[in-house]
Subunit: 417 residues, 2 copies
């Protein structure tokens, strides 16, 4: 436990946590079309080529490219259209030399053709005739072999690895799997994240508050962030500031779930109690206590076995910012995602100076507005750690570790939040 | 219908659609802690002040600032600690001149105190004594009136509008509501979005494909995007390329749902049929057919009554990009959101030249990689419109309308996708 009570830079602290998360949750098989946001638990290979047949990318005529060689507006090629390939059917037209077949975008190309000429570069001779009767066309452009044709396997070849294990599935990934007829997929369990509020002053949101009491909101803001990262929030209620009660509740929550988040309270004594509880839950226990960041310096990060345990500061802004910093990547890692999805960022021009301290990474709630010179970011005022600074914000301005502040007019990175 | 067959720039096209969406869906009341991602259907005001009582922001001693006036290391002030304010309880200690009370972070401040001095700036005289016995402290710093104290209403004043109508709720917003005891909230219905695939060549994903046949994937990729925007996808299956069948199915889908999305097929004839169907569904019908963008030029955008109807190109990449461009903002607008949430963007250095055409907005699938010089964006190769170009991509590079292309080494905007 060498890092205990060291205040680590946030990136190092996160890396330390993640390297202790060595166990990926088991897999379960679910329908592919319900897999958005889930994580593959094994690599998936293509059971067939895609496309499975040669397809036209244009409305036009399938032909042998040699038959339109040198064709131009002034010297068109003349071809005989001997049939049509209907959509969704085999292209069973046999083209001889000088023959063509009408094809639609996405339709199959006859074996005997090697290119498609767009309908816009042709003209039918003699106008419309009876259906299914051969007719002649003039072709005004030459085409290369393979032009306007999707080849078999051009999207995916048979047997190719289409997705690695640990891949966070998006709508296009579901589409890619379904195109190959892969209608079910093995994904990691959704991590169950136990959420516990502590504090003698905390009451449930549906309670009236007496003097000195506040309502529990951290359980619900954290639950929202858990769900956004693909976890299942499990509410464990409000535990009084009592070592034995907290230890008992924490041990039970941890044994039934994959991760534990405690709102560690605001005072030094409650935080110390949380540290002791995590230490007693099992090895390795507390990995670090304190992160060089504001808000959220007194965050406690630990693991018990390979299950992450977080002790978040009690104030609501710190709790959310710190969960975003440690909890969200942990939930992805439990599912086997090596690199969490990139955050939504925007660049904006800072409306006023922001003071900070070098050696500390600050996150300042900010409002974004479209202005004449581009996006404008204005810090949201108010004493730090008030929940409405986040309610009134569109994102967080990051003041990097090595900067003593930011200047009005600078372009800054704003993390959408 | 003056815009019909005009190819509009994407921003103008989207504005045209949104200005026709004049009806906001009705509201329903749901538990606040389940409201993440929903949209408020009316403004919400604070039923009480937050905080409801004066709170300490530090572990320390509540006192009268005047009693520590001028205190310093060399000339400390001496105060008598006559009690402690327990967490979650009223501060019923009465401070006389020269008195102080022990308070914890988040605890209530006695009426008779006007500031808090941090415990780190004090020292207890004579060490620990029995619990509940008064003791003396030295105070080494003066404090201003109000220092380390959160005033009543400093986060929110009673009666203040805390959220407007049409606000997309995030975890912090749930927290802000619950802090005030607002445990239920009126939100717009989740829009029901009917999704219909068309094409004689299209079969369900669980079917074997014969020659010329492909599996329906657009229904599922679009469903994923619908859900991400807060809508409820309603699968309407695969409709054959038959005008009457399509019209009947579309009319039924539209009457049972709040929005209709058709995969309009790939060939000119299927697209024309979709246009005719939308025209016959009701007024105003087709608003525009064609957007100055690639992929996705032949997109059809319409409204029937105030319900949006989209005819998406049949190829899967165009369908997704165009749904993102029109469908996602429409779903937000139906719920009353004036400005959809800002997209996740990153800035990256382009790995190679990209050709485009001025007057057209292009979206190029790209892979992102961390490189020595920052984030690097590399276009994903492959004929356009193959689903695996999107599967293999992390985002889309936008080539703005007025640019003829982008140069290797340029910093470009990549929309996470």
């Amino acid at each position: 436990m060498p890092e205990f009570f060291n205040v680590l830079p946030p990136d190092d602290a996160r890396a330390l946590l993640l390297e202790h998360l060595t166990t990926i949750l088991p897999g379960e098989t679910i329908p592919t079309h319900e897999s958005n946001g889930r994580v593959t638990s094994e690599a998936i290979c293509a059971p067939q080529a895609l496309p499975a047949f040669r397809r036209s990318t244009m409305d036009g005529y399938a032909l042998r490219a040699a038959d339109a060689y040198g064709a131009s507006e002034s010297l068109p090629a003349f071809l005989q259209v001997i049939g049509e390939v209907p959509m969704g059917r085999a292209a069973d037209v046999q083209l001889g030399s000088g023959d063509a077949a009408l094809v639609h975008t996405g339709g199959m190309i006859p074996d005997s053709a090697d290119a498609v000429v767009q309908v816009e570069h042709t003209q039918r001779i003699g106008g419309d005739t009876e259906v299914n009767q051969p007719y002649e066309i003039e072709v005004f452009r030459s085409v290369a072999q393979g032009q306007n044709v999707l080849q078999v396997g051009e999207d995916v070849t048979m047997g190719a690895e289409i997705l690695p294990g640990g891949h966070l599935l998006r709508p296009q990934d579901m589409g890619g799997l379904l195109a190959l007829g892969i209608t079910s997929v093995k994904v990691s369990w959704k991590p169950r994240v136990a959420i516990m509020a502590t504090g003698d002053e905390v009451v449930a949101p549906n309670q009236e508050t007496g003097p000195g009491q506040i309502r529990d909101i951290n359980s619900y803001t954290i639950a929202g962030l858990v769900a956004q990262a693909g976890g299942i929030p499990v509410y464990c209620g409000i535990i009084q500031d009592d070592f034995e009660a907290l230890k008992r509740a924490a041990a039970e929550a941890l044994s039934n779930n994959d991760m534990l988040v405690m709102s560690a309270g605001s005072s030094v004594s409650t935080r110390d109690m949380t540290v002791k509880v995590i230490e007693e839950l099992g090895e390795p226990g507390v990995l670090l206590h304190g992160v060089a960041t504001r808000p959220g310096k007194p965050t406690i990060v630990g693991t018990v076995g390979a299950k992450p345990v977080l002790g978040l500061p009690g104030n609501p802004v710190s709790a959310m910012v710190q969960f975003d910093m440690f909890g969200t990547p942990a939930i992805y890692r439990l599912q086997g995602v090596a690199v969490p999805p990139r955050r939504g960022l925007v660049w904006a021009k800072l409306s006023q100076n922001i003071a900070s301290e070098s050696g500390r990474e600050d996150y300042i709630p900010a409002k974004l507005e479209d202005a004449a010179e581009g996006l404008l970011a204005s810090p949201v005022f108010g004493k730090s750690n008030l929940i409405y600074t986040l309610v009134n914000a569109d994102g967080l301005i990051k003041v990097p570790l090595n900067k003593g502040g930011l200047l009005a007019g600078e372009w800054v990175e704003v993390r959408l939040f």
